[in-house]
Symmetry: C2
Subunit: 138 residues, 2 copies
Amino acid sequence: MTDQHFDVVPVGSVESPLADLSQAPNQGDAGAPPAWLVFESRFADAVRDLHVGDRVIVVTWLHRARRDVLRTYPGDDPSGPVLGVFSLRAPDRPNPIGLHRVRILTVDGLRILVDALEVLNGTPILDVKPVLDPKAER
Amino acid sequence: MTDQHFDVVPVGSVESPLADLSQAPNQGDAGAPPAWLVFESRFADAVRDLHVGDRVIVVTWLHRARRDVLRTYPGDDPSGPVLGVFSLRAPDRPNPIGLHRVRILTVDGLRILVDALEVLNGTPILDVKPVLDPKAER
């Protein structure tokens, strides 16, 4: 099992004003800007039932993250306790998958604007899923 | 970008009494049984701050899913409307990543029992993340 692995394929990418890591907040509610989800045309059939107002979870591949980090500081605060990454939302982790609960503001074909996304411009998108419990924000 | 892809590596796998797809409920609150998350020893440092009572999101790779499905029926109900998979939680989708909000019941080293998990025995685990808002169930 140690050598087992799977391929993930981007279904699109994020267009965001966040150009480098120093600008990126740790979570979407910490001042992240709206961002466009730009899907590849071959996934149009998967996208087409997304509507303005929908709350969805965007699943991203945090392509700038380190994958060899198993313990780190919460929120990049070196004065905090070091914790295992499965107890943290830090991007550095064995599989740098990001989960982002957002609301859809605009739908323009393969381009979908969401209200707040804390990832860098160019981040690959792996999946979009509906939020099951509308009361649950994240 | 069309040819870009990334490797995901299992950090462990699920031990569950759910042996085949006919037994698996669609969501964890639809009668899913407790299950063990069994981590590989090389990820022990990432696991070790998980505690009984923690609410976490388990990220899985739904290895039995089809990846060429872009539209399907909600909840495997053929009488329902066909929708794009980004508006559904169906396992069949371009990147069959599962998200499962669970509570930890037991911690025994690299083996962690969670309260309800709607995946088959042997499903690979990609990541574990803490729930940010404890009021949010899923």
